[in-house]
Amino acid sequence: MLSPGRARPTPDAGENAVFRGRALPWVFLLPSLLILAVFIYLPALQTLRLAAYRANVILGTEQFVGLANFAELLSSPAYRQVALQTLVFTVLTVTFGLLLSLGLAWLASRPVRGASTYRLLLIYPYALSPAIAGTLWLFLFNPEIGVVNALLGELFGVRPRWLDTPVLAFGLVTLAAIWKGLAYNIVFYLASIQNLPGDVMEAAEIDGATPAQVFWRVAFPLLSPITFFLVFTNIIAALFDSFALTDILTRGGPYTGNAGATTFLVYQLYQDGFVNFKTGAAAAQAALMLALVAFVTWMQFRLGERRVHYGS
Protein backbone atom coordinates (compact mmCIF):
# COMPACT_ATOMS: atom_id res chain seq x y z
CA MET A 1 0.00 0.00 0.00
CA LEU A 2 3.01 2.21 -0.20
CA SER A 3 3.17 3.90 -3.50
CA PRO A 4 6.45 3.97 -5.34
CA GLY A 5 7.85 7.19 -6.63
CA ARG A 6 7.36 8.80 -3.29
CA ALA A 7 9.24 6.01 -1.57
CA ARG A 8 12.19 7.07 0.52
CA PRO A 9 12.95 4.08 2.70
CA THR A 10 15.82 5.63 4.63
CA PRO A 11 15.10 8.23 7.27
CA ASP A 12 16.34 11.67 6.45
CA ALA A 13 19.33 13.11 8.23
CA GLY A 14 16.97 15.28 10.21
CA GLU A 15 16.77 18.54 8.30
CA ASN A 16 13.19 18.80 9.57
CA ALA A 17 14.26 18.12 13.14
CA VAL A 18 12.65 21.15 14.70
CA PHE A 19 11.63 20.13 18.17
CA ARG A 20 14.00 19.34 21.02
CA GLY A 21 13.70 16.66 23.60
CA ARG A 22 15.45 13.36 24.16
CA ALA A 23 12.62 11.39 25.68
CA LEU A 24 9.76 12.98 23.77
CA PRO A 25 10.22 11.21 20.40
CA TRP A 26 10.39 7.88 22.22
CA VAL A 27 7.17 8.70 24.05
CA PHE A 28 5.49 9.24 20.67
CA LEU A 29 7.01 6.09 19.19
CA LEU A 30 6.50 3.84 22.18
CA PRO A 31 2.88 2.75 21.56
CA SER A 32 3.66 1.72 17.97
CA LEU A 33 6.96 0.03 18.80
CA LEU A 34 5.49 -1.79 21.78
CA ILE A 35 2.63 -3.25 19.73
CA LEU A 36 4.95 -4.22 16.89
CA ALA A 37 7.36 -5.86 19.33
CA VAL A 38 4.72 -7.82 21.22
CA PHE A 39 2.31 -8.74 18.41
CA ILE A 40 4.58 -8.95 15.36
CA TYR A 41 8.22 -9.53 16.26
CA LEU A 42 7.73 -11.74 19.30
CA PRO A 43 5.30 -14.07 17.46
CA ALA A 44 7.70 -14.14 14.50
CA LEU A 45 10.54 -15.36 16.73
CA GLN A 46 8.19 -17.72 18.52
CA THR A 47 7.09 -19.14 15.15
CA LEU A 48 10.69 -19.97 14.28
CA ARG A 49 11.15 -21.63 17.67
CA LEU A 50 7.91 -23.65 17.46
CA ALA A 51 8.93 -24.90 14.02
CA ALA A 52 11.60 -26.97 15.72
CA TYR A 53 9.12 -28.68 18.04
CA ARG A 54 6.46 -31.29 17.72
CA ALA A 55 3.94 -29.22 19.62
CA ASN A 56 0.26 -28.99 20.32
CA VAL A 57 -1.09 -25.60 21.37
CA ILE A 58 -4.30 -27.05 22.76
CA LEU A 59 -2.68 -29.76 24.88
CA GLY A 60 0.32 -27.61 25.69
CA THR A 61 2.80 -30.35 24.81
CA GLU A 62 6.18 -29.70 23.24
CA GLN A 63 8.97 -31.98 22.09
CA PHE A 64 12.12 -30.78 20.36
CA VAL A 65 12.56 -32.37 16.91
CA GLY A 66 15.05 -30.05 15.22
CA LEU A 67 14.51 -29.75 11.49
CA ALA A 68 12.26 -32.81 11.28
CA ASN A 69 9.14 -30.70 10.64
CA PHE A 70 10.78 -29.09 7.63
CA ALA A 71 12.06 -32.40 6.31
CA GLU A 72 8.58 -33.87 6.59
CA LEU A 73 6.97 -30.95 4.83
CA LEU A 74 9.40 -30.84 1.95
CA SER A 75 9.12 -34.57 1.34
CA SER A 76 5.33 -34.59 1.63
CA PRO A 77 3.56 -34.99 -1.74
CA ALA A 78 0.49 -33.22 -0.35
CA TYR A 79 2.50 -30.16 0.65
CA ARG A 80 4.27 -30.07 -2.69
CA GLN A 81 0.91 -30.18 -4.45
CA VAL A 82 -0.34 -27.32 -2.29
CA ALA A 83 2.79 -25.28 -3.07
CA LEU A 84 2.40 -25.91 -6.80
CA GLN A 85 -1.30 -24.99 -6.71
CA THR A 86 -0.46 -21.79 -4.85
CA LEU A 87 2.15 -20.94 -7.48
CA VAL A 88 -0.26 -21.47 -10.39
CA PHE A 89 -3.03 -19.58 -8.59
CA THR A 90 -0.70 -16.67 -7.83
CA VAL A 91 0.69 -16.43 -11.37
CA LEU A 92 -2.81 -16.54 -12.88
CA THR A 93 -4.39 -13.98 -10.53
CA VAL A 94 -1.47 -11.56 -10.73
CA THR A 95 -1.11 -11.76 -14.53
CA PHE A 96 -4.77 -11.57 -15.50
CA GLY A 97 -5.70 -9.30 -12.61
CA LEU A 98 -3.11 -6.70 -13.60
CA LEU A 99 -3.79 -6.90 -17.36
CA LEU A 100 -7.52 -6.48 -16.82
CA SER A 101 -7.22 -3.64 -14.33
CA LEU A 102 -4.68 -1.80 -16.48
CA GLY A 103 -7.05 -2.04 -19.44
CA LEU A 104 -10.00 -0.86 -17.40
CA ALA A 105 -8.08 1.97 -15.76
CA TRP A 106 -6.84 3.10 -19.17
CA LEU A 107 -10.41 3.07 -20.48
CA ALA A 108 -11.71 4.97 -17.44
CA SER A 109 -9.00 7.60 -17.76
CA ARG A 110 -10.19 8.64 -21.22
CA PRO A 111 -11.58 12.15 -21.14
CA VAL A 112 -15.22 11.24 -21.70
CA ARG A 113 -18.28 12.76 -20.10
CA GLY A 114 -19.08 11.22 -16.74
CA ALA A 115 -15.56 9.83 -16.36
CA SER A 116 -15.52 10.43 -12.60
CA THR A 117 -18.74 8.43 -12.19
CA TYR A 118 -17.27 5.57 -14.21
CA ARG A 119 -14.15 5.67 -12.04
CA LEU A 120 -16.18 5.53 -8.85
CA LEU A 121 -18.21 2.59 -10.16
CA LEU A 122 -15.00 0.75 -11.03
CA ILE A 123 -13.31 1.21 -7.66
CA TYR A 124 -16.15 0.84 -5.15
CA PRO A 125 -15.83 -3.02 -5.07
CA TYR A 126 -12.62 -2.35 -3.13
CA ALA A 127 -14.94 -2.04 -0.11
CA LEU A 128 -16.33 -5.59 -0.56
CA SER A 129 -14.65 -8.20 1.63
CA PRO A 130 -13.23 -11.53 0.41
CA ALA A 131 -15.79 -13.30 2.63
CA ILE A 132 -18.66 -11.47 0.92
CA ALA A 133 -17.10 -12.23 -2.46
CA GLY A 134 -16.99 -15.91 -1.51
CA THR A 135 -20.62 -15.85 -0.35
CA LEU A 136 -21.89 -14.20 -3.53
CA TRP A 137 -19.91 -16.48 -5.83
CA LEU A 138 -21.04 -19.54 -3.89
CA PHE A 139 -24.67 -18.74 -4.67
CA LEU A 140 -24.01 -17.58 -8.26
CA PHE A 141 -22.19 -20.80 -9.13
CA ASN A 142 -24.31 -23.21 -7.11
CA PRO A 143 -24.71 -26.22 -9.45
CA GLU A 144 -28.43 -26.67 -8.83
CA ILE A 145 -29.87 -23.28 -8.02
CA GLY A 146 -27.18 -20.86 -9.17
CA VAL A 147 -28.08 -18.39 -11.86
CA VAL A 148 -24.90 -19.14 -13.84
CA ASN A 149 -25.90 -22.76 -14.36
CA ALA A 150 -29.49 -21.74 -15.07
CA LEU A 151 -28.14 -19.58 -17.88
CA LEU A 152 -25.64 -22.19 -19.14
CA GLY A 153 -28.33 -24.88 -19.02
CA GLU A 154 -30.73 -22.71 -20.99
CA LEU A 155 -28.18 -21.71 -23.62
CA PHE A 156 -25.92 -24.75 -24.00
CA GLY A 157 -27.61 -27.50 -22.03
CA VAL A 158 -24.64 -27.86 -19.65
CA ARG A 159 -24.71 -27.54 -15.88
CA PRO A 160 -21.10 -27.89 -14.67
CA ARG A 161 -20.49 -29.13 -11.13
CA TRP A 162 -18.42 -26.05 -10.27
CA LEU A 163 -17.62 -26.92 -6.68
CA ASP A 164 -17.13 -30.70 -7.08
CA THR A 165 -14.83 -30.72 -10.12
CA PRO A 166 -11.22 -29.93 -9.14
CA VAL A 167 -10.30 -27.98 -12.28
CA LEU A 168 -13.54 -25.98 -12.28
CA ALA A 169 -13.32 -25.20 -8.57
CA PHE A 170 -9.72 -24.03 -9.02
CA GLY A 171 -10.77 -21.86 -11.97
CA LEU A 172 -13.70 -20.46 -10.01
CA VAL A 173 -11.58 -19.46 -7.02
CA THR A 174 -9.00 -17.92 -9.37
CA LEU A 175 -11.69 -15.94 -11.18
CA ALA A 176 -13.22 -14.76 -7.91
CA ALA A 177 -9.79 -13.68 -6.63
CA ILE A 178 -9.12 -11.72 -9.85
CA TRP A 179 -12.55 -10.09 -9.53
CA LYS A 180 -11.92 -9.22 -5.90
CA GLY A 181 -8.53 -7.65 -6.66
CA LEU A 182 -9.60 -5.53 -9.65
CA ALA A 183 -10.74 -2.44 -7.74
CA TYR A 184 -7.54 -2.14 -5.69
CA ASN A 185 -5.37 -2.35 -8.80
CA ILE A 186 -7.58 0.08 -10.72
CA VAL A 187 -7.21 2.65 -7.91
CA PHE A 188 -3.43 2.63 -8.26
CA TYR A 189 -3.39 2.44 -12.06
CA LEU A 190 -5.85 5.35 -12.33
CA ALA A 191 -3.69 7.45 -10.03
CA SER A 192 -0.55 6.77 -12.07
CA ILE A 193 -2.23 7.19 -15.44
CA GLN A 194 -3.44 10.60 -14.34
CA ASN A 195 0.10 11.52 -13.40
CA LEU A 196 1.51 10.56 -16.81
CA PRO A 197 3.02 13.44 -18.77
CA GLY A 198 0.18 14.30 -21.15
CA ASP A 199 2.42 16.31 -23.47
CA VAL A 200 4.62 13.32 -24.24
CA MET A 201 1.68 11.24 -25.37
CA GLU A 202 0.19 14.15 -27.22
CA ALA A 203 3.42 14.59 -29.09
CA ALA A 204 3.40 10.91 -29.99
CA GLU A 205 -0.17 11.25 -31.23
CA ILE A 206 0.63 14.28 -33.35
CA ASP A 207 3.54 12.37 -34.82
CA GLY A 208 0.98 9.90 -36.10
CA ALA A 209 1.15 7.15 -33.47
CA THR A 210 -2.01 5.05 -33.23
CA PRO A 211 -3.74 4.81 -29.83
CA ALA A 212 -2.35 1.29 -29.47
CA GLN A 213 1.16 2.54 -30.15
CA VAL A 214 0.74 5.37 -27.65
CA PHE A 215 -0.37 2.85 -25.07
CA TRP A 216 2.29 0.18 -25.57
CA ARG A 217 5.26 2.32 -26.59
CA VAL A 218 4.75 5.38 -24.42
CA ALA A 219 2.30 4.84 -21.56
CA PHE A 220 3.10 1.23 -20.67
CA PRO A 221 6.84 1.79 -20.06
CA LEU A 222 6.01 4.90 -18.01
CA LEU A 223 3.65 2.78 -15.92
CA SER A 224 6.32 0.16 -15.18
CA PRO A 225 7.04 1.39 -11.61
CA ILE A 226 3.41 1.08 -10.53
CA THR A 227 3.02 -2.24 -12.37
CA PHE A 228 6.11 -3.47 -10.59
CA PHE A 229 4.75 -2.34 -7.21
CA LEU A 230 1.36 -3.95 -7.93
CA VAL A 231 2.95 -7.26 -8.98
CA PHE A 232 4.38 -7.59 -5.48
CA THR A 233 1.34 -6.39 -3.54
CA ASN A 234 -0.76 -8.78 -5.66
CA ILE A 235 1.56 -11.70 -4.94
CA ILE A 236 1.16 -11.02 -1.21
CA ALA A 237 -2.62 -10.68 -1.63
CA ALA A 238 -2.81 -13.96 -3.57
CA LEU A 239 -0.81 -15.70 -0.84
CA PHE A 240 -2.92 -14.43 2.09
CA ASP A 241 -6.22 -12.80 1.13
CA SER A 242 -7.25 -15.95 -0.69
CA PHE A 243 -8.00 -17.56 2.67
CA ALA A 244 -11.49 -16.16 3.30
CA LEU A 245 -12.45 -16.70 -0.33
CA THR A 246 -11.47 -20.36 -0.43
CA ASP A 247 -12.72 -21.05 3.07
CA ILE A 248 -16.24 -19.92 2.19
CA LEU A 249 -16.33 -20.99 -1.46
CA THR A 250 -14.71 -24.44 -1.44
CA ARG A 251 -13.26 -25.18 2.01
CA GLY A 252 -10.03 -26.00 0.20
CA GLY A 253 -11.65 -28.82 -1.77
CA PRO A 254 -12.55 -30.70 -3.84
CA TYR A 255 -10.08 -33.51 -3.40
CA THR A 256 -7.56 -34.26 -6.12
CA GLY A 257 -4.34 -36.21 -5.71
CA ASN A 258 -2.93 -35.61 -2.23
CA ALA A 259 -4.68 -32.39 -1.28
CA GLY A 260 -7.75 -30.31 -2.06
CA ALA A 261 -7.58 -28.57 -5.44
CA THR A 262 -8.09 -25.13 -3.87
CA THR A 263 -5.96 -25.70 -0.77
CA PHE A 264 -3.29 -23.01 -0.91
CA LEU A 265 -0.37 -22.49 1.46
CA VAL A 266 -2.22 -20.29 3.95
CA TYR A 267 -5.22 -22.64 3.99
CA GLN A 268 -2.97 -25.63 4.66
CA LEU A 269 -1.32 -23.66 7.47
CA TYR A 270 -4.72 -22.99 9.05
CA GLN A 271 -5.82 -26.61 8.58
CA ASP A 272 -2.73 -28.06 10.23
CA GLY A 273 -2.64 -25.45 12.98
CA PHE A 274 -6.27 -25.18 14.00
CA VAL A 275 -8.10 -28.20 12.60
CA ASN A 276 -5.50 -30.99 12.88
CA PHE A 277 -3.68 -29.28 15.80
CA LYS A 278 -0.26 -30.11 14.38
CA THR A 279 1.19 -26.92 15.79
CA GLY A 280 4.84 -27.66 15.06
CA ALA A 281 4.14 -28.60 11.44
CA ALA A 282 2.03 -25.46 11.04
CA ALA A 283 4.79 -23.32 12.55
CA ALA A 284 7.27 -24.85 10.11
CA GLN A 285 4.92 -23.94 7.26
CA ALA A 286 4.67 -20.43 8.68
CA ALA A 287 8.47 -20.23 8.76
CA LEU A 288 8.63 -21.30 5.11
CA MET A 289 6.01 -18.68 4.22
CA LEU A 290 7.99 -16.06 6.15
CA ALA A 291 11.01 -16.93 4.05
CA LEU A 292 8.86 -16.67 0.93
CA VAL A 293 7.55 -13.21 1.87
CA ALA A 294 11.05 -12.07 2.79
CA PHE A 295 12.31 -13.33 -0.58
CA VAL A 296 9.50 -11.58 -2.47
CA THR A 297 10.18 -8.32 -0.61
CA TRP A 298 13.91 -8.60 -1.17
CA MET A 299 13.29 -9.17 -4.89
CA GLN A 300 11.05 -6.12 -4.93
CA PHE A 301 13.74 -3.86 -3.51
CA ARG A 302 16.54 -5.50 -5.44
CA LEU A 303 14.89 -5.48 -8.86
CA GLY A 304 13.18 -2.18 -8.12
CA GLU A 305 16.47 -0.42 -7.62
CA ARG A 306 18.01 -1.85 -10.73
CA ARG A 307 15.41 -2.03 -13.42
CA VAL A 308 12.72 0.43 -12.67
CA HIS A 309 13.12 4.15 -12.78
CA TYR A 310 10.94 5.70 -10.12
CA GLY A 311 11.50 9.32 -11.05
CA SER A 312 11.63 11.95 -8.38
Binding site: M1, S3, R6, R8, P11, D12, N16, A17, V18, F19, L24, P25, F28, L29, S32, L33, I35, L36, F39, I40, Y41, P43, Q46, T47, L50, L107, A108, S109, R110, P111, L121, Y124, A127, L128, S129, P130, A131, I132, A133, T135, L136, W137, F139, I145, V147, A191, Q194, G198, I236, F240, A244, D247, V266, L269, Y270, G273, A286, M289, V293, T297
Partner: protein, 291 residues
Protein backbone atom coordinates in the same frame (compact mmCIF):
# COMPACT_ATOMS: atom_id res chain seq x y z
CA UNK B 1 -5.99 13.41 -17.77
CA UNK B 2 -4.31 10.90 -20.02
CA UNK B 3 -4.38 12.71 -23.34
CA UNK B 4 -5.17 16.37 -23.69
CA UNK B 5 -6.74 17.49 -26.91
CA UNK B 6 -5.80 21.01 -27.88
CA UNK B 7 -8.72 23.39 -28.11
CA UNK B 8 -6.86 25.56 -30.60
CA UNK B 9 -7.64 25.05 -34.30
CA UNK B 10 -5.67 22.15 -35.76
CA UNK B 11 -2.46 23.11 -37.45
CA UNK B 12 -2.73 20.42 -40.04
CA UNK B 13 -5.28 19.97 -42.79
CA UNK B 14 -5.80 16.24 -42.22
CA UNK B 15 -7.30 16.82 -38.76
CA UNK B 16 -10.94 16.19 -39.76
CA UNK B 17 -10.62 12.48 -40.38
CA UNK B 18 -9.13 11.61 -36.97
CA UNK B 19 -11.80 13.72 -35.35
CA UNK B 20 -14.71 11.62 -36.67
CA UNK B 21 -12.77 8.54 -35.73
CA UNK B 22 -12.37 10.06 -32.31
CA UNK B 23 -16.11 10.76 -31.99
CA UNK B 24 -16.79 7.11 -32.70
CA UNK B 25 -14.07 6.22 -30.23
CA UNK B 26 -15.89 8.15 -27.51
CA UNK B 27 -19.00 6.00 -27.92
CA UNK B 28 -16.97 2.84 -27.96
CA UNK B 29 -15.34 4.00 -24.71
CA UNK B 30 -18.74 4.67 -23.11
CA UNK B 31 -20.10 1.30 -24.22
CA UNK B 32 -17.01 -0.59 -23.04
CA UNK B 33 -17.01 1.14 -19.65
CA UNK B 34 -20.71 0.50 -19.06
CA UNK B 35 -20.30 -3.15 -20.04
CA UNK B 36 -17.26 -3.57 -17.79
CA UNK B 37 -19.03 -1.96 -14.84
CA UNK B 38 -22.09 -4.18 -15.37
CA UNK B 39 -19.96 -7.33 -15.43
CA UNK B 40 -17.95 -6.27 -12.36
CA UNK B 41 -21.09 -5.32 -10.43
CA UNK B 42 -23.10 -8.36 -11.55
CA UNK B 43 -22.50 -10.42 -8.38
CA UNK B 44 -23.56 -7.52 -6.16
CA UNK B 45 -26.60 -6.60 -8.29
CA UNK B 46 -27.56 -10.28 -8.21
CA UNK B 47 -27.21 -10.35 -4.41
CA UNK B 48 -29.35 -7.25 -3.99
CA UNK B 49 -32.12 -8.71 -6.19
CA UNK B 50 -32.03 -12.12 -4.51
CA UNK B 51 -32.13 -10.53 -1.05
CA UNK B 52 -35.59 -9.15 -1.88
CA UNK B 53 -37.14 -12.43 -3.03
CA UNK B 54 -39.25 -14.76 -0.93
CA UNK B 55 -37.81 -18.17 -0.10
CA UNK B 56 -39.91 -19.83 -2.81
CA UNK B 57 -38.67 -17.48 -5.58
CA UNK B 58 -35.06 -17.16 -4.47
CA UNK B 59 -34.12 -20.67 -5.62
CA UNK B 60 -35.54 -20.07 -9.10
CA UNK B 61 -33.49 -18.31 -11.77
CA UNK B 62 -35.89 -15.35 -11.57
CA UNK B 63 -34.17 -11.97 -11.43
CA UNK B 64 -37.27 -9.94 -10.65
CA UNK B 65 -37.02 -7.97 -7.40
CA UNK B 66 -39.51 -9.02 -4.73
CA UNK B 67 -40.72 -7.37 -1.57
CA UNK B 68 -39.26 -9.68 1.05
CA UNK B 69 -36.05 -7.80 1.90
CA UNK B 70 -37.10 -6.70 5.36
CA UNK B 71 -38.50 -10.14 6.11
CA UNK B 72 -35.22 -11.78 4.99
CA UNK B 73 -33.21 -9.26 6.96
CA UNK B 74 -35.18 -9.60 10.19
CA UNK B 75 -34.66 -13.35 9.90
CA UNK B 76 -30.85 -13.13 9.87
CA UNK B 77 -30.69 -10.07 12.11
CA UNK B 78 -32.28 -11.80 15.10
CA UNK B 79 -32.25 -15.58 14.52
CA UNK B 80 -28.77 -15.79 13.00
CA UNK B 81 -27.39 -13.01 15.25
CA UNK B 82 -26.35 -10.82 12.32
CA UNK B 83 -27.20 -7.75 14.41
CA UNK B 84 -24.79 -8.82 17.11
CA UNK B 85 -22.03 -9.69 14.61
CA UNK B 86 -22.48 -6.31 12.93
CA UNK B 87 -22.22 -4.46 16.24
CA UNK B 88 -19.04 -6.39 17.12
CA UNK B 89 -17.47 -5.65 13.74
CA UNK B 90 -18.40 -2.00 14.01
CA UNK B 91 -16.78 -1.66 17.45
CA UNK B 92 -13.63 -3.41 16.23
CA UNK B 93 -13.35 -1.51 12.94
CA UNK B 94 -13.91 1.90 14.56
CA UNK B 95 -11.41 1.21 17.37
CA UNK B 96 -8.76 -0.17 15.01
CA UNK B 97 -9.17 2.74 12.57
CA UNK B 98 -9.04 5.41 15.28
CA UNK B 99 -6.17 3.72 17.14
CA UNK B 100 -4.08 3.09 14.03
CA UNK B 101 -4.50 6.66 12.83
CA UNK B 102 -3.54 8.11 16.23
CA UNK B 103 -0.49 5.91 16.74
CA UNK B 104 0.68 6.43 13.16
CA UNK B 105 0.37 10.21 13.50
CA UNK B 106 2.42 10.17 16.72
CA UNK B 107 5.08 7.92 15.22
CA UNK B 108 5.37 10.06 12.10
CA UNK B 109 5.64 13.15 14.28
CA UNK B 110 8.62 11.61 16.07
CA UNK B 111 10.30 10.51 12.83
CA UNK B 112 9.95 13.82 11.01
CA UNK B 113 10.34 16.53 13.64
CA UNK B 114 12.91 15.06 16.02
CA UNK B 115 16.53 14.04 15.81
CA UNK B 116 17.38 11.22 18.17
CA UNK B 117 19.76 8.27 18.45
CA UNK B 118 18.60 4.94 16.96
CA UNK B 119 16.08 6.74 14.75
CA UNK B 120 17.13 4.66 11.75
CA UNK B 121 16.80 1.43 13.70
CA UNK B 122 13.34 2.38 14.96
CA UNK B 123 12.23 3.26 11.44
CA UNK B 124 13.54 -0.04 10.08
CA UNK B 125 11.68 -1.87 12.83
CA UNK B 126 8.42 -0.20 11.76
CA UNK B 127 8.98 -0.77 8.04
CA UNK B 128 10.10 -4.39 8.34
CA UNK B 129 6.82 -5.29 10.04
CA UNK B 130 5.24 -4.99 6.59
CA UNK B 131 7.00 -8.24 5.78
CA UNK B 132 5.25 -10.14 8.55
CA UNK B 133 1.56 -10.66 7.74
CA UNK B 134 -0.71 -11.76 10.59
CA UNK B 135 -1.68 -14.90 8.69
CA UNK B 136 1.88 -16.19 8.94
CA UNK B 137 2.19 -15.36 12.63
CA UNK B 138 -1.17 -16.85 13.51
CA UNK B 139 0.15 -19.98 15.25
CA UNK B 140 2.41 -18.11 17.67
CA UNK B 141 -0.01 -15.20 17.98
CA UNK B 142 -2.73 -17.61 19.07
CA UNK B 143 -0.38 -19.05 21.66
CA UNK B 144 0.51 -15.59 22.97
CA UNK B 145 -2.96 -14.07 23.00
CA UNK B 146 -4.90 -17.05 24.32
CA UNK B 147 -2.40 -18.69 26.69
CA UNK B 148 -0.09 -15.92 27.91
CA UNK B 149 -2.41 -12.92 27.79
CA UNK B 150 -5.65 -14.91 28.27
CA UNK B 151 -7.42 -12.61 25.81
CA UNK B 152 -9.31 -15.30 23.89
CA UNK B 153 -12.91 -14.24 23.31
CA UNK B 154 -12.26 -10.60 24.12
CA UNK B 155 -12.39 -7.56 21.86
CA UNK B 156 -8.79 -6.81 22.90
CA UNK B 157 -7.68 -9.92 21.00
CA UNK B 158 -8.94 -8.56 17.68
CA UNK B 159 -8.16 -4.88 18.31
CA UNK B 160 -4.86 -4.43 20.17
CA UNK B 161 -2.54 -6.52 17.93
CA UNK B 162 -3.58 -4.38 14.93
CA UNK B 163 -3.11 -0.90 16.38
CA UNK B 164 0.35 -0.22 14.96
CA UNK B 165 0.43 0.72 11.30
CA UNK B 166 3.58 0.71 9.20
CA UNK B 167 1.62 1.91 6.18
CA UNK B 168 0.10 4.77 8.16
CA UNK B 169 3.39 5.81 9.74
CA UNK B 170 5.07 5.75 6.36
CA UNK B 171 2.37 7.72 4.53
CA UNK B 172 2.07 10.35 7.27
CA UNK B 173 5.85 10.68 7.33
CA UNK B 174 5.94 11.25 3.57
CA UNK B 175 3.17 13.81 3.89
CA UNK B 176 4.80 15.68 6.80
CA UNK B 177 8.09 15.79 4.89
CA UNK B 178 6.28 17.64 2.10
CA UNK B 179 5.17 20.38 4.52
CA UNK B 180 7.69 23.28 4.71
CA UNK B 181 9.87 23.17 7.82
CA UNK B 182 9.50 26.93 8.23
CA UNK B 183 5.95 26.29 9.46
CA UNK B 184 7.20 24.15 12.33
CA UNK B 185 10.01 26.62 13.04
CA UNK B 186 7.52 29.46 13.28
CA UNK B 187 5.25 27.41 15.51
CA UNK B 188 8.12 26.52 17.82
CA UNK B 189 9.26 30.12 18.09
CA UNK B 190 5.69 31.04 19.01
CA UNK B 191 6.00 28.59 21.88
CA UNK B 192 3.98 25.78 20.32
CA UNK B 193 4.96 22.27 21.43
CA UNK B 194 5.02 19.22 19.15
CA UNK B 195 1.63 17.88 20.26
CA UNK B 196 -0.04 21.24 19.77
CA UNK B 197 1.66 21.54 16.40
CA UNK B 198 0.27 18.13 15.51
CA UNK B 199 -3.30 18.84 16.53
CA UNK B 200 -3.49 22.47 15.36
CA UNK B 201 -1.38 22.50 12.20
CA UNK B 202 -0.47 19.02 10.93
CA UNK B 203 -3.82 17.27 11.32
CA UNK B 204 -5.84 20.02 9.59
CA UNK B 205 -3.26 19.91 6.77
CA UNK B 206 -3.46 16.13 6.49
CA UNK B 207 -7.19 15.56 5.98
CA UNK B 208 -6.73 13.86 2.61
CA UNK B 209 -4.06 11.50 3.87
CA UNK B 210 -6.09 10.77 7.02
CA UNK B 211 -9.20 10.15 4.92
CA UNK B 212 -7.40 7.85 2.50
CA UNK B 213 -5.86 5.89 5.37
CA UNK B 214 -9.14 5.73 7.27
CA UNK B 215 -10.76 4.04 4.27
CA UNK B 216 -7.92 1.53 3.94
CA UNK B 217 -7.82 0.79 7.67
CA UNK B 218 -11.58 0.54 8.13
CA UNK B 219 -11.87 -1.83 5.18
CA UNK B 220 -8.92 -3.88 6.49
CA UNK B 221 -10.37 -4.11 10.01
CA UNK B 222 -13.89 -4.85 8.75
CA UNK B 223 -12.57 -7.61 6.46
CA UNK B 224 -10.67 -9.46 9.21
CA UNK B 225 -11.46 -13.14 8.89
CA UNK B 226 -8.85 -15.76 9.72
CA UNK B 227 -7.79 -14.27 13.07
CA UNK B 228 -11.32 -13.83 14.54
CA UNK B 229 -12.15 -17.29 13.18
CA UNK B 230 -9.49 -18.90 15.36
CA UNK B 231 -9.40 -16.63 18.41
CA UNK B 232 -13.15 -16.10 18.95
CA UNK B 233 -14.76 -19.31 20.02
CA UNK B 234 -17.65 -17.58 21.75
CA UNK B 235 -20.33 -16.73 19.23
CA UNK B 236 -21.44 -13.53 20.96
CA UNK B 237 -18.11 -11.80 20.27
CA UNK B 238 -17.71 -13.00 16.70
CA UNK B 239 -17.31 -10.58 13.77
CA UNK B 240 -19.68 -10.41 10.84
CA UNK B 241 -17.32 -11.86 8.20
CA UNK B 242 -17.10 -15.12 10.12
CA UNK B 243 -20.82 -14.74 10.85
CA UNK B 244 -21.47 -14.98 7.10
CA UNK B 245 -19.77 -18.36 7.06
CA UNK B 246 -22.11 -19.49 9.83
CA UNK B 247 -25.14 -18.30 7.88
CA UNK B 248 -24.19 -20.58 5.01
CA UNK B 249 -23.57 -23.65 7.07
CA UNK B 250 -26.87 -23.71 9.01
CA UNK B 251 -27.96 -27.31 8.64
CA UNK B 252 -28.49 -28.68 5.14
CA UNK B 253 -30.88 -26.07 3.83
CA UNK B 254 -29.37 -22.65 3.31
CA UNK B 255 -31.91 -19.82 3.30
CA UNK B 256 -30.31 -18.00 0.38
CA UNK B 257 -32.63 -14.99 0.48
CA UNK B 258 -31.60 -14.40 4.08
CA UNK B 259 -27.91 -15.03 3.32
CA UNK B 260 -28.00 -12.52 0.46
CA UNK B 261 -29.72 -9.96 2.72
CA UNK B 262 -26.96 -10.61 5.26
CA UNK B 263 -24.23 -10.20 2.63
CA UNK B 264 -25.74 -6.95 1.36
CA UNK B 265 -25.99 -5.49 4.87
CA UNK B 266 -22.46 -6.67 5.71
CA UNK B 267 -21.17 -4.87 2.63
CA UNK B 268 -22.76 -1.57 3.65
CA UNK B 269 -20.53 -0.10 6.43
CA UNK B 270 -17.27 -0.17 4.41
CA UNK B 271 -19.19 1.06 1.35
CA UNK B 272 -20.58 3.96 3.40
CA UNK B 273 -17.11 4.85 4.72
CA UNK B 274 -15.70 4.55 1.22
CA UNK B 275 -18.41 6.76 -0.29
CA UNK B 276 -18.22 9.34 2.49
CA UNK B 277 -14.43 9.64 2.22
CA UNK B 278 -14.24 9.05 -1.50
CA UNK B 279 -12.93 12.55 -2.24
CA UNK B 280 -10.19 12.25 0.39
CA UNK B 281 -9.41 8.71 -0.72
CA UNK B 282 -9.03 9.85 -4.32
CA UNK B 283 -7.00 12.94 -3.40
CA UNK B 284 -4.87 10.96 -1.01
CA UNK B 285 -3.89 8.82 -3.98
CA UNK B 286 -3.94 11.69 -6.47
CA UNK B 287 -6.92 10.36 -8.38
CA UNK B 288 -8.44 13.73 -9.16
CA UNK B 289 -8.38 15.53 -12.50
CA UNK B 290 -5.91 18.22 -11.62
CA UNK B 291 -3.07 17.22 -9.50
Amino acid sequence: MAVKHPAAPPARADRAAPRSRRARGVWVTHAALILAILIISAPLIFAVIKSTQTSSVVLSPSLLPGGAFLQNLSGVWEDAHLGRYMRNSLVVAVCVTAGKTTLALLAALAFVYFRFPLKGAAFTLVLLSLMLPTEVLIIALFDLVSRDLKWANTYAAIIVPFLASATGTFLFRQHFLSIPTSLADAARIDGCGPLRYLTHILIPMSTNTIGALAVIQFVYAWDQYIWPLVIMQQDDKQVVQVGLRKLIEVGGQTDWGAVMAGAVITALPPLIVFTALQKQFSRGFALTEDK
